[in-house]
Structure formats: structure tokens, C-alpha cells
């Protein structure tokens, strides 16, 4: 079927891409149905509102720019989504793209959790208090790169890959 999307206009989607947020996304409470779209821009995804074509969130797996990313959420959040097995869990963070693209950031404080099987989803609040709403992606990639080079294990790490 076809839906109207913010990034790509009218496109064909599959029912399988439909994600339901019973509580909506924080600040966008009334809107509960979204489609998860592959992005045409790098490692990103779009979370497109079904009800509001002009509303879409850019998502990324934070491990793309932070290999040390640790998802820490409350047991009750996993229960809300009926997640019993880690395999069922898909997690992303929302990306903010300002005018100055070099300041692109990810919100690690409010990750998006999706039950892969039931397509139930929720924006939760991270239990990891080191994480903030604004992690500058390019900056953190640089830090990660420096760490990788400084690390004594850099060689074995590269080989292992």
C-alpha cells in the first residue's frame, strides 16, 4: 500500500513495517502509528507517522558511532513491550539534524525500543545516567577513532574484524 511520507513523498510500504506506539512518542502523544523506513542516507532509518505525513523522526543504531553503547532500560519497559527474549528487541536513538550538519546529534537518553515480533514500540528513558539528549555523532566518532588508535589492542582488533 502507499503512504505519504515526509522524506520521500508518497511511497509503497509493507504492513510489516508498521510499528505501534501505544503511548506515542514523548511530546507527540496522540500519534501512535508509524512506519519504519530504510533511509536513503547512510545508516539511518525513518520513523514515519501514519497519521501525520509531515511528522517523521530520523533514527540510528547508536552502536554505529559508539561501539561501547550500552542500552540500560527498566525491566518494566521490556514487560510493557512483551519482550522476553533479547532477540525480539530492536533499539534505536532519535537523531536531530540542525542547520549545521556537522552538529548532527543523537538522543541517547530517550531510546526507542521495538518488539521485532509484535511491532509494539515505546520511547523509554535510559537508566544509564551518563547519556544525554545530545550526543554529537561526528565528535563521538572522532573520540572513538582516537581510542581505537591509542588502544594497545588496536592491532588485534583490526585483525579480528
Amino acid at each position: 500500500m502507499k503512504i505519504k511520507t515526509k522524506p520521500y513523498g508518497e511511497i509503497e510500504v509493507d504492513e510489516k513495517q508498521k510499528i505501534h506506539f501505544p503511548e506515542g512518542i514523548i511530546g507527540f502523544g496522540g500519534l501512535c502509528n508509524y512506519y519504519l523506513l530504510d533511509s536513503r542516507e547512510g545508516p539511518f532509518y525513518w520513523l514515519q507517522s501514519e497519521e501525520e505525513p509531515e511528522l517523521a523522526f530520523l533514527l540510528v543504531d547508536p552502536r554505529v558511532f559508539r561501539h561501547d553503547y550500552k542500552l540500560m532500560v527498566r525491566e518494566s519497559d521490556l514487560r510493557d513491550l512483551n519482550i522476553k527474549d533479547k532477540q525480539d528487541l530492536l533499539d534505536f536513538t532519535i537523531v536531530t539534524v540542525p542547520e549545521d550538519h556537522s552538529k548532527i546529534s543523537a538522543n541517547l537518553m530517550g531510546p526507542i525500543l521495538i518488539n521485532r515480533k509484535t511491532k509494539l514500540a515505546k520511547q523509554v528513558i535510559s537508566e544509564n545516567e551518563e547519556y544525554t539528549v545530545k550526543h554529537y555523532i561526528l565528535e563521538e566518532m572522532k573520540i572513538q577513532r582516537t581510542r581505537l588508535l591509542e588502544s594497545e589492542n588496536a592491532c588485534s582488533y583490526t585483525k579480528a574484524k
Binding site: I25, L55, P98, E99, M109, G110, T132, L138
Partner: protein, 82 residues
């Protein structure tokens, strides 16, 4: 606003199912314990507001200008060598 004075280990009940216990008072910090049913969400307000603000900012991205976002990433990928 209802204002109540409580001592350490004293409890306030909200409705039949929410309990707020004063666990510790130390300088300008108060440690509270909250017992509530699963469907009642308990959050620090500033955290909730920060996420809400960031979501609104994220929703305002100008999609027309975003074609190059992937490029920035690719360039950086090359830099890192992955």
C-alpha cells in the same frame, strides 16, 4: 498545592496505590522512595522535559537539505577506516 512536612522514613500516600517515602535528607538533597503500580510512570521531570524538547527539535529537521547527511557519515567512515 498541598504542602506536607515529613521526617525521614515517613510516607505520603497518593490515592490507594502510590507511596512516597522520605528515605534520607542530606544537605539540600532529599532521597525519595516511590512505590507505584506498573501503569503509573515515575520520572524525574527535567529528564522528561529534556527528551520532549529534543524530540520536537528532531521533528523539525529540514528534509530537503538532508541529502548530504549520509555523505558526512561516509566520509567519517573512511576516516575511521571501517
Amino acid at each position: 498545592m498541598l504542602v506536607l512536612t515529613r521526617k525521614q522514613n515517613e510516607i505520603i500516600m497518593i490515592g490507594d496505590s502510590v507511596e512516597v517515602t522520605v528515605i534520607e535528607v542530606k544537605g539540600d538533597q532529599v532521597k525519595l522512595g516511590i512505590t507505584a503500580p506498573r501503569d503509573i510512570k515515575v520520572h524525574r521531570k527535567e529528564v522528561f522535559l529534556a527528551i520532549q524538547r529534543e524530540n520536537i527539535d528532531a521533528s523539525r529537521a529540514d528534509v530537503g537539505k538532508m541529502g548530504k547527511i549520509g555523505d558526512i557519515f561516509k566520509k567519517n567512515d573512511k576516516n575511521i577506516g571501517i
